[in-house]
Amino acid sequence: MKNPVVTIENVSFKYDGQEQYALKDVSFQIYDDEWLAIVGHNGSGKSTLAKLLNGLQFPEEGRIQIGGIDLTEETVWDIRKLIGMVFQNPDNQFVGTTVQDDVAFGLENNGIPREDMVERVQSSLKSVKMEQFLDQEPHHLSGGQKQRVAIAGVIALRPKIIVLDEATSMLDPRGREEVLDTIRQLKNDHQMTVISITHDLEEAAKADRIIVMNGGELYREGTPEEIFQMDEELVKLGLDIPFPVKMSKMLKAKGIPLNKHYLSEEELVTQLWTSHSNK
């Protein structure tokens, strides 16, 4: 049975001074050990959701439960131990004067013993391939490198849940892949739940489940397979269609026999080869 680690019930939220609700009556659950991608256009409520999960904002209505604890102003500090957040802009989350100080910051705050701390700083920087930069100052690092340090800072705290709020959007393709591989690895080793808020559909396609947000509401929920069959509907929501699906569609329009819209390039190539050979 799937075990919910996060329960969001009828949550509504609006920012001070705004008329429009950023989130309207949103309900869903996030399960233990799953990789959930949350997609949606800019302003669809994705990032607001991330802020609510960590108690940076509190819902106006509704309820959020994390690891069985109701998220309130009293419990927020306990809950922040369960959730690690990585935000989009690395410049806004670098607090230390050097790379290792930055990673150590969160550990110190949580009263981790020194020996343990040294080891965790080293190993988490290694896992994001930044172990060569221990004493570098942040302004010597590129945006992507800073982001990897931020991720190391979160990983060092061994949270139960990691929230990536567009965390790879400023990295180059290799950097992005490295970071995602690292997180996949960590997820497997430590049975973490990953919530990834992203515009990267290729990344979303690899998630266990996708939630589509639109105008502050939960628009659709399903497996990548189900979500990407939405096709043009996704474009209308300000999103895009993954390449293999686009390619399948155009080939079908030319009269090339294909059973469905494929989600992976490999599947599509195989199918093309099969139908070509059977002609």
Partner: protein
Amino acid sequence: MDISLQQVEYRYQANSPFERLAIQNVSIDIPSGTYLAIIGHTGSGKSTILQHLNAILRPTEGKVVIGDREVTNAKKQKNLKEIRKRVGIVFQFPEHQLFEETVEKDICFGPMNFGVSEADAKVRARKAIKQVGLSEEILQKSPFDLSGGQMRRVAIAGVLAMEPDVIVLDEPTAGLDPRGRKEIMDMFYQLHKERNLSTVLVTHSMEDASQYADQIVIMHQGQVYKKGTPREIFHSPDGLIELGLDVPEVVRFQQKLEAAFKTKLAKTCITLDELTDEIDQLFKRGEPK
């Protein structure tokens, strides 16, 4: 206005213990009216090149020719304002640099700083706001009441209002959703076409580079690894893949298809339409092998 980098080298904090070689032997020509994309990994030297395009940095070796000006290490340069006026840079997340009370004041700030009268600057602001696809009413609003996408457009309008001859874009679509990304890229392409505006796009996105640029420069470890038209660059993508760079989806798919079919398509496709047509041809030709 033509820009040309000739054997440019740049060392950060030269002659200090922290000296670091960022780029070396970089030669790139950007004739007037070009759309050039510069691609490479984080740390490959892209941003260092960008800062040479309007003399924020002076090369430690070699020279940069911007219009009729030559920028070298030799002497302290005077009057770089003229260069900065003619080469507009849209930095990453330009909306972070908005600061005025109204959108209009923010857009007028740049031109007025360069000696344009307030009245003329306002005329330019009206023109620029339309060029970025926003309506004139927005001019009287506070930039901080706008959505992220609108703020980015306002920031871009501020650069356009300087009426530069060359526009340099540093990851202009970072953080935007797919629709916003396409809108901004289409907008720059239209400006490029309509006004023959030289455009330099610094990006990670091979997709954008292959779709919009006439010329691509690939940077690797501070040096030019390859330059050419998109078709030339992607004709032999293996080298790029070895460097860990992305190739466009179309190119990657063509490679996988060719490997499975053990045959070559007639040409290197760089658009989805081209690739669809080629695959269609392959099916019409009939029997494999």
